[in-house]
């Protein structure tokens, strides 16, 4: 058996095998069909957009340092502010959060976790990356032509009458929508048809469940956004009279259409984060995930229920009372599956063997922040309180707790968790943990005051405000600066690891899912043949090798009965 044990540590890849080095030259990246390279290019892309969106966010916060506006001055101050918050929202939503986890980490991980060689449609995968770039170009050109000042929601009739580049931006969002659809479609097909022998639906890592649920939403909701934006463009160019009241259209119809996509889109953003946290908590606690089926089912439940609650963005817009109450009731149902997950994560940590690594720090802050984000959602789902809180800073704080405290933190946790796998380098743990602490503190300082601002009546999207709100706004601004420093710190930690980091073993954390069974970084073909797999959260056979500072698997390699036809276990059914 000893040979089996050693054979379970794949060692290090050769330059010829390593997906980063097996072919070189810029063209080998531009035309690559390798899902790992596409994932890495996405990672660079979304991080760049995040940097742009983040700088815009700092601009917003600095402007709000003073009740009369501080950052932007002159006659155009309000206009600049409006453009800045619009672009902050649009870039963060369309260019960063939606593609962040599914497209960047998902692309890298889905096939490797499945033991497959690639996604089902590699060309479609590459084209969806280029669609993303194309969409980004549209956004940038909107930025440099006459800007965009509609808010990221493009509400009519404002968006049909303003003289900024609405068409460029909506075309950009339209194209990004297709990028998102193709990614989702690719993942659904990949997960359905390319699972390795032994991996039944309930032996899939939870990250794959989350990705699957996300992909369902991407495929089902995004086309509606597509047609909505197309109709908006038609409304602006030809005045088709569907959304514009001046031509007998109805602006509330636009809101229904828009939120039918954009509410499920919230789950496109948060579901993959749930998947990452499930992996992180289990691996770094070295304990089987608690309540696997509940977590898996709750992902699907969220994906489906998420389609029924869009109306809660419009409680004040004048829907009939009955509709409003039904949407409120449905909204509460979504909170149940989210709560289940948090309880299950806590139970997973209980009696585990926790390693307080950088990814685990992010996972813990995720639980803290997401719980606040989720609980404050209850105030907004309750009709009486929502009428007061709607469109105030309370809403801003709530969705930042979910989107930033949830998705961004999980994304960072995921990047730190899989960074050794992606680039083959280990980063400095101490600095990584300090950065995560800074991010946590900065984030709370930024957004906790905003809850109070909101419940005291400060409306959102205000370039100037009444002096009585100044103190809380200033707290928030200083928090944003701290948050920015923390994020920059985290980025520097990752970048230094590229130059100075120690070479990463195949399994630095002790994970049991398939990506840890191939080398770091993986070879370009991932696995020579589809591995036969068991339980992704069974840590019995993962042992710490203190000498080599790595985890190895003592489990004998599973094999189909040698030299036999695997007819009983078809590769895909």
């Amino acid at each position: 058996m000893s040979t089996a044990i050693t054979s379970r540590d794949p060692g290090y890849p050769t330059d010829r095998e390593n997906y980063l080095t097996n072919s070189s030259g810029i063209l080998s990246w531009i035309f690559t069909l390798d899902h790992k390279r596409i994932g890495l290019m996405y990672l660079v892309g979304v991080m760049t957009s995040f940097a742009v969106g983040g700088l815009l966010a700092l601009g917003i916060r600095l402007h709000l340092l003073d009740p009369e506006g501080w950052m932007f001055t002159g006659a155009e101050a309000n206009n600049i502010y409006n453009q800045v918050f619009t672009l902050h929202g649009a870039i963060m939503v369309f260019l960063f959060i939606i593609p962040s986890i599914p497209a960047a980490l998902g692309n890298f991980l889905v096939p490797v976790m499945l033991g497959a060689k690639d996604v089902a449609f590699p060309r479609l995968n590459l084209s969806s990356f280029y669609l993303w770039c194309f969409g980004a170009i549209f956004f940038v050109s909107a930025l440099f032509s006459s800007g965009l000042d509609t808010g990221w929601t493009f509400y009519t009739p404002y968006s049909t009458t303003t003289d900024t580049s609405v068409i460029l931006a909506t075309l950009g969002a339209f194209i990004l929508g297709f990028s998102s659809i193709f990614t989702g479609l690719n993942f659904i097909v990949t997960i359905n048809t390319m699972r390795p022998p032994g991996m039944t639906w309930f032996k899939m890592p939870l990250f794959l469940w989350a990705t699957y649920a996300t992909s369902i939403i991407q495929v089902l909701a995004t086309p509606v956004l597509g047609i909505t934006l197309l109709l908006l463009i038609a409304e602006r160019t030809m005045h088709v009279g569907i959304f514009d009241p001046e031509f007998n259209g109805d602006p509330v119809t636009y809101q229904h259409f828009f939120w039918f996509y954009s509410h499920p889109a919230v789950y496109i953003m948060i579901l993959p984060a749930f998947g990452i946290i499930s992996e992180l908590i289990s691996v770094h606690s070295h304990k089987h995930i608690f309540g696997y089926r509940f977590i898996a089912y709750s992902s699907i439940a969220i994906a489906l229920l998420g389609f029924l609650v869009w109306g809660h963005h419009m409680f004040t817009s004048g829907m009939s009372s009955l509709t409003t109450i039904i949407f409120s009731a449905l909204t509460f149902t979504v909170s149940v599956p989210s709560a289940i997950k948090v309880f299950n994560w806590l139970a997973t940590m209980y009696k585990g063997s926790i390693s307080l690594t950088t990814p685990m720090c992010y996972a813990i802050s995720f639980i803290f922040l997401f719980t606040i984000g989720g609980l404050t959602g209850l105030f907004l789902g309750t009709l009486a309180t929502d009428l007061h809180l709607h469109d105030t800073y309370f809403v801003v704080a709530h969705f930042h707790y979910v989107m930033v405290g949830g998705t961004l933190i999980a994304f960072l946790g995921g990047v730190f968790h899989w960074w050794p796998k992606m680039v083959g380098k280990l980063y400095n743990e101490t600095h990584g943990r300090i950065a995560s602490l800074l991010v946590f503190l900065g984030f709370n300082l930024t957004f906790l005051p905003q809850f109070v601002l909101g419940s005291r009546g400060m409306p959102r999207r205000y370039a100037t405000y009444d002096p009585e709100f100044a103190f809380l706004h200033q707290m928030s601004t200083y928090g944003a600066l701290l948050l920015g420093c923390g994020l920059l710190y985290a980025f520097i930690v990752l970048m230094t690891s590229l130059a100075k980091g120690r070479r990463s073993p195949a399994n630095p954390w002790g994970g049991a899912t398939l990506e840890w069974a191939c080398t770091s970084p993986p070879p370009y073909y991932n696995f020579e043949r589809p591995p036969v797999v068991g339980d992704p959260y069974d840590f019995h056979n993962i042992e710490w090798d203190a000498q080599e500072e790595k985890y190895i698997s003592t489990e004998p390699e599973r094999k189909l009965v040698p030299e036999e036809t695997p007819e009983e276990v078809p590769a895909h059914h």
């Binding site: 109709l231 038609a234 031509f247």
Partner: protein, 470 residues
């Protein structure tokens, strides 16, 4: 290590495509040496009519290492042809789901506005020519048949028939577009446009370019486009036709057989567009008059007089000056007509929302005219409706425009899907001529077929919703 062998033969001068037995040859080498297929491969292969019967055997290939050669059509990351086919099939179905949802947005908009303003939809759908719609429905249904047949031909490796079927599907798509351009250009000339540019004026349904500029405030170039839109719509297809024709001649002269074989069906396809245009022209001029009558008075009325007025109508067409009083005077309902005829100036004034005086005057005149004909309830209004709702009320920018806004969005997006379908069908046609498909690898034909059926299906819904329900 896995190598991917590229076995696709390049087309060479003097001979194109793969030999008909290429696949058999290749597949035999592929199957040979595996325990299950044994010596029966060549014969056994012929009995496998569908891919399903192959599955149990093809799965065996995993065991004999990874240096085996995938067939060229099997992508390197798939283990079996079945896995590839299943993935593609699931993929295209998911894509169709997104397409359905894409259109569902517009169907929702249709349903909502129809619910809010049923009279607008009833009034305006009479402007749509049912005959043309029906012809297009038939054409698309037939194309679905040929498409399904094409899939079958790919499975049975009847290459000639496959090419014929794909080319017929393409031709039908072109006929559809031809008829559609007649419908569009006709409506554009009449000003039946989305509310932003709607200028239909029932007193003068076919304004000249000058009138469009003077009365409706369009720029000269827009007016030129609106009155000559058919030429603009046909121009790209005419260019295409010429291009394909030159290609055909060139490939014939230089004796490039593969290219010649591609250009030949494409020429027919391009010609079909103009077939569609011709068909549309014939039917449009016959069906149009009833629309006008409806617009003026009411449906029942038009039914009685529609035929009698066909000649007047032709006259009106020929004499583009559109002398409205003359055309109107021919109406049987002389009182109504003359009243309207004299009111052109007032009508124009009344178009402005500010001019409530002119509006009131117009309404009063209308009521008088109605009384003069001895009618208590104005024509076209059911007695039990109670409210004085004349047909003409819906023909305002804000009302009718919304119908046409939805009409152009729905049919326009559908037409874009037809265009996309034409694109992929041409790609299929070339591959079919190259003999790329065989009974193990017909996925692309199948997938495109599914897409085409969906596009067809959407039209099956659009036709009754827009043209028929009144």
């Amino acid at each position: 290590m896995r190598f991917r062998l590229i076995l696709r033969p390049h087309s060479e001068p003097g001979g194109f495509g793969r030999p008909a037995n290429w696949f058999t040859f290749h597949f035999d080498t592929y199957m040979r040496g595996r325990p299950n297929s044994g010596g029966s491969s060549a014969n056994g292969f012929r009995h496998m009519a569908t891919i399903d019967s192959l599955s149990s055997e093809s799965e065996t290939h995993d065991e004999h290492g990874h240096d085996h050669d995938h067939p060229a059509w099997l992508a390197h990351h798939f283990d079996t042809p079945e896995q590839q086919f299943d993935s593609g099939k699931l993929g295209i179905w998911l894509f169709l789901v997104t397409e359905v949802l894409f259109f569902s947005g517009m169907f929702c908009a249709y349903a909502m506005f129809r619910m809010l303003r049923p009279e607008v939809f009833e009034g305006c759908s009479q402007f749509l020519n049912t005959k043309l719609g029906a012809i297009n429905t038939g054409v698309l249904l037939f194309s679905s048949l040929t498409m399904a047949w094409a899939v079958r031909c790919a499975q049975t490796e009847e290459y000639k028939k496959l090419v014929v079927m794909i080319a017929s599907t393409l031709s039908c798509a072109m006929v559809f577009l031809g008829v559609k351009s007649i419908e569009y250009s006709h409506k554009w000339g009449m000003g039946l446009l989305p509310p932003g540019s709607y200028f239909y004026d029932e007193a003068n349904p076919h304004p000249t370019m000058q009138q469009i500029v003077d009365q409706h405030g369009f720029s000269e170039s827009t007016a030129y486009f609106l009155t000559h839109s058919l030429y603009y719509l046909c121009a790209p297809f005419a260019l295409l036709l010429v291009g394909v024709f030159i290609w055909l001649v060139y490939s014939k002269v230089t004796d490039k057989q593969f290219q010649y074989a591609c250009a030949k069906p494409l020429l027919v396809v391009c010609l079909s567009f103009f077939g569609g245009v011709g068909l549309g022209m014939v039917l449009e001029s016959g069906g149009e008059h009833s629309e006008h009558a409806v617009a003026h008075v009411d449906g029942e009325h038009a039914g009685e007089h529609g035929d009698a007025h066909a000649e007047d109508h032709a006259h009106e067409h020929g004499d583009e000056a559109g002398d409205e009083t003359h055309a109107e005077a021919d109406h049987a309902d002389a009182v109504v007509a003359s009243a309207e005829g004299n009111d052109v100036a007032i009508e124009l004034l009344a178009e402005s929302d500010l001019n409530t005086g002119a509006k009131a005057m117009l309404e009063a005149k209308q009521a008088q005219a109605d009384m003069a004909t001895g009618q208590i309830v104005p024509p076209g209004v059911e007695a039990d409706l109670g409210i004085h709702k004349v047909e003409r009320d819906v023909q305002t920018k804000r009302q009718a425009g919304v119908f046409f806004g939805i009409y152009y969005c729905m049919t326009g997006v559908h037409a874009i899907h037809i265009l996309a379908g034409i694109g992929v069908l041409v790609w299929l046609l070339v591959r079919a001529i190259r003999h790329d498909f065989n009974r193990q690898y017909f996925g692309p034909v199948d997938y495109v077929g599914l897409y085409w059926h969906l596009v067809d299906l959407i039209w099956i819904y659009l036709f009754p919703l827009l043209y028929l329900i009144r």
